[in-house]
Amino acid sequence: MAAPSVFQMILCVLALTCALLVVLQRNPVISAISLLGTLFTTGLLYFTLEAYFVGAVQILVYAGAISVLFVFIVMLLDLKPTRVRVPGRAPTIVLGVTAGASFFVLCALSVLPVLKTFGLLDTMSGGLGEAAEGPLAISVLLLSKYMLPFQVTALLLLASIMGVVVLGKRTLPPRVSSFEKRKD
């Protein structure tokens, strides 16, 4: 496989930066916008990988719809930036970061040998986008071999539509929550 181009590297760096911002930012609006950044840059990365269809869908669905929803909801709820320090959170954060890091190392350790064994790290077997990754090939697969998952996904979408409508139409009675108690 070819060496990565400079453009790809820049996109990777951008995606990583945005991903870090998602997690690190205290302001949820910026988190959501950063999520958009990650999703959009990965979409562009798909284009550089000649997966045009997947890239277009990524931008259309993820960037155009899902993260709009995030931004929209965050703005609608008018979430304020979180407080800097919450007592008792520090161990969780340390533990979480450790877990993430160790997970990364573990993954890398288990994936790298596979890549090495199959000689995938440096081979020049060129990917060819169009024939293999065009909308036709994907849709043929989805409608033949993966018919069942495809239909189940459709069912899932329907179920979530109904769930959203039910949630949206019904107003829950206000409850005296632990949140209320915590505020005191």
């Binding site: 609006v29 916008i33 045009y52 269809f53 709009v68 931004v71 703005m75 909308p135």
Partner: protein, 374 residues
């Protein structure tokens, strides 16, 4: 002459077209509005007011762009940029004409030749909503925020309708490639085989939705001045405001070009196919290669004159169709009143969306039976 150079050149061409169309459009809008309202309109600057956009631009450039207190600086600046960039990018996938033969190689008149051009257009235009949201939120102004939220839900709702309408279009043409779609609409012997004949309902849906997508009347609730001062761009002035206006016009241009491409045969000249046009021009004696660079430059650059003229004619055809839609934008603005917000949502979800789904079903049945041969 490599493909990369050609693409770059075309990108520049597209940008120029976009930038040129805007002042023209401004004049058309202002003078057209005046004509419809039986008043004079701006007629002082230049002949018949033609230079009015220039003076407007100069005014806006020299105005102060202020930053409201406690606004989010980064997003506040980013928002106008986000308004302008996506429509321009989207414009780049529109096929502008057939192909030009340069140095014996055929070069397509399309800045970005994507196999999934239709999807790409939708994807890129769907990013437009962020500028509105970001502008609304970062202004730290309740009118702006409400305008932004309204706009976001409106645009998402109508995007769904567009997507649904496009599904039936794609089912009809069997491809996502805009160039291929235009080619399929090439005129045969009789009537133009244009998309609005094959998919009248999808055409209507897309047309209606493009008003909502570009926030034009009667769907201009995000900036409804009687309720929200000026909606999401309340706090913008000077050049940043100009960018919003620029974005709106480029979006209109892109939407018009898109509709022309899908439903009015794109760059096709009515009743004449590309090959017929070319052979006609060749018959006129244009079948010759012209060298554009003098010999001493070292590299040769010969252009086939017939194909060049053909492409020019096709470009004019496309622009004419696009201008038709642009004019309808202006026309509708002074014809229909603004919707109420719930009416807008009802129209989108309860009328247009079911119609789109109905259209899919009809298209499916027709396609199936055509393929089966009854």
């Amino acid at each position: 002459m490599t493909q990369t150079v050609w693409s770059t050149l075309l990108v520049v061409v597209v940008a120029i077209i976009g930038m040129t169309a805007i002042p023209v459009m401004l004049v058309v809008e202002r003078r057209g509005s005046a004509w419809m309202q039986r008043r004079s309109g701006p007629n002082r600057v230049g002949f018949w007011g033609l230079l009015q956009p220039i003076s407007d631009a100069i005014k806006l450039v020299f105005k102060e762009a202020n930053l409201p207190a406690r606004a989010h600086r980064f997003l506040f600046i980013l928002a106008p940029a986000l308004a302008v960039i996506p429509p321009f990018v989207a414009l780049a996938v529109i096929p502008l004409g057939g192909s030009i033969s340069i140095n014996g190689t055929e070069f397509k008149m399309q800045a970005i030749d994507l196999s999934v051009g239709l999807l790409f257009f939708l994807a890129i235009t769907s990013l437009h909503v962020y500028s509105v949201l970001a502008a609304g939120w970062s202004s730290n102004n309740k009118f702006a925020l409400m305008g932004g939220l309204r706009s976001a839900s409106q645009m998402i709702s109508y995007e769904i309708v567009i997507g649904i309408a496009m599904v039936s279009v794609v089912m009809t043409y069997g491809t996502l490639d805009l160039r291929e779609i235009v080619r399929l609409q090439e005129a045969g012997a009789g009537l133009p085989a244009w998309g609005f004949v094959l998919q009248p309902l999808a055409f209507l849906l897309l047309w209606v939705c493009s008003f909502a997508e570009t926030n034009r009347l009667p769907f201009d609730l995000p900036e409804g001045e009687s309720e929200l001062v000026a909606g999401y761009h309340t706090e913008y002035a000077g050049l940043t405001f100009a960018l919003f206006m620029l974005g709106e016009y480029v979006a209109m241009l892109a939407a018009s070009a898109f509709m022309a491409t899908l439903f009015l045969g794109g760059y096709n000249v009515p009743f004449v196919s590309g090959a017929q046009l070319l052979s006609f021009l060749n018959g006129l004696g244009l079948d010759l290669n012209v060298s554009l660079l003098p010999a001493f430059v070292g590299t040769t650059l010969t252009v086939h004159l017939g194909s060049l003229v053909a492409v020019a004619i096709q470009l004019i055809a496309l622009l004419t169709k696009t201008m038709f839609f642009m004019w309808v934008f202006v026309w509708v603005r002074w014809t229909l009143p603004r919707f109420r917000y719930d009416q807008l949502m009802d129209l989108g979800w309860k009328a247009l969306l079911p119609l789109g789904i109905l259209n899919i079903v009809i298209t499916m049945l027709v396609t199936f039976f055509l393929a089966k041969g009854f």
